[in-house]
Symmetry: C2
């Protein structure tokens, strides 16, 4: 993983799009059976940084991985972690081009992901939503929250929910396709759709209105919500550690945007609301039109 | 410091040159009076990453700073740390373009520095040295080792040595100038000249011969060596945490390379040896021609 030289040299496109994510054992994950394997940790750390590149609609190019290693982490565990990141990188066409390895009291993974955009398709920011836009989201929500809330209740989440928690997929192909199809604004919902839609609304100076009943819910997350006596749609809206994309686009472009994501291999885009003039932020509306408050998502293990 | 968006977007030159350095409290530094202030920590972490860009001869562009913060680190200390990095960044024309802030058990600073090269002046690697080249080094060595060894002996290093330890300068201007003047290979001597010259020799498949008596020694480091009963030149060769550059260039280019560094504002280049065919590595030669073994440098606080 460390490059042979002082620094890695790569050919650039017109615009560099760079994101850094640091994850720390005991804060963002536990390296323990039932929580996460070393490979899961490597995958998730890289996925988190790549997800930010996806949300800009850029082509992911390279990743740099810095590891802080406690003495108790074995060489095999380090290799597993790097392999977990490497497998995702290969699948995404990303080169792990460098990094650093140092001693640290807690396992620490800091990933810098670099994406590239040409001048023709500008990166999509979170600040471009306009009143009259429609709001969409990729994929199906609720998996990580379903898994975490079942674990917190001492129950077994089952393999599908655990996979969503441990191996979330950055939506690089869909993000790039949606950007090329003219999306106005994007954000990944890694802090939960409710919180991130609100950030997008504030950055754009508009108000997103999201219809809870239209949220696409992962079936296993719906089952988890039922088992926990929770409202499924609210669980989906609050679910953090998701790397789905929240998209704002002109209503006239709805089919083009959804079609572009489908052509890129998915996941499907579901239209869940609209953008209105108003104070910057987002509202969640129940079926009867009343607004519902969502809990913010905080990292916790 | 965190960008408003998911990722930072910057205009690129032809080649991106990227280096990542992670530093951890208790491993690379102690945040304590007598060791390092928060501003020192910010400065050093950024300087370490920029030094790798300098050693490639590239123009430094942006830095991304991820911080892992224990609860006991105050907001004021965090601001001081960021200001310490920010002051160096401004002086070097570097933009701090993004980063991350998370909780962590030990203060952790992970800096990603990005430099840019045009296609006209390729980045200088450590693999380009050729038999017949001469070997140079920028500045004056021994400051950090002098400070650390005096501290370890329970003695006060004095302000000049402490400044060398706490606020080392990345040699960006000199590195870029030397690259443009045709240097064949470079490396920063952050693990000590002896160790890093050996890395350069191995990467280039040649043997560097460095004349100990020609090493440029910081006067305060010479005093420290005398006070410690140490050979000054060997202390200089072993001194890590230095960000001077070891340079290999064609003998015919000696004046052009040294002149370019001087024109860029320094520091001065001193020619300290030559490159020979042989097993990849480096030798330190005493005045009588005998070879001297140097200790490797290990991070320790």
């Amino acid at each position: 993983m460390p490059s042979g030289d002082d620094a890695a040299v790569v050919a650039a496109d017109a615009l560099a799009v760079t994101s850094v994510d640091m994850m720390v054992e005991g804060v963002h994950f536990e390296l323990a059976p039932g929580w996460a394997s070393p490979a899961d940790v490597g995958h998730r750390a890289l996925a988190a940084a790549l997800s930010d590149i996806a949300a800009m609609g850029s082509r992911a190019g390279e990743a740099y991985i810095a590891l802080g290693l406690p003495a108790r982490v074995t060489d095999d565990e380090v290799l597993e972690l790097v392999d977990g990141a490497g497998e995702l990188a290969r699948r995404c066409g990303v080169t792990i081009a460098g990094g650093d390895i140092v001693a640290a009291p807690a396992l620490t993974v800091c990933v810098t992901a670099v994406g590239w955009s040409s001048r023709e398709v500008s990166p999509v920011t979170r600040a471009g939503a306009r009143a009259g836009d429609i709001v969409g989201v990729t994929g199906r929500l609720g998996g990580p929250a379903g898994a975490l809330e079942l674990l917190a209740a001492g129950r077994e989440p089952g393999p599908e929910l655990l996979a969503r928690l441990r191996r979330p997929e950055p939506r690089l192909a869909a993000g790039a396709a949606v950007a090329a199809a003219g999306a106005h604004a994007m954000i990944d919902v890694s802090d939960g759709l409710a919180a991130d839609a609100s950030l997008l609304g504030r950055a754009s100076g508009v108000r997103l209105r999201i219809e809870l009943e239209r949220l696409p819910l992962l079936p296993a997350a719906a089952d988890a919500a039922a088992a926990l006596g929770r409202d499924g749609a609210l669980l989906a809206a609050e679910s953090g550690e998701e790397f789905e994309l929240c998209i704002c686009a002109a209503a006239a472009d709805a089919d083009a945007v959804a079609g572009a994501a489908a052509d890129a291999g998915g996941p499907e885009v579901t239209w869940i609301g609209e953008v209105r003039a108003g104070d910057g932020g987002a509202d969640l509306a129940a079926r009867d039109g009343t607004l519902v408050a969502a809990r913010g998502y905080e990292h916790r293990v």
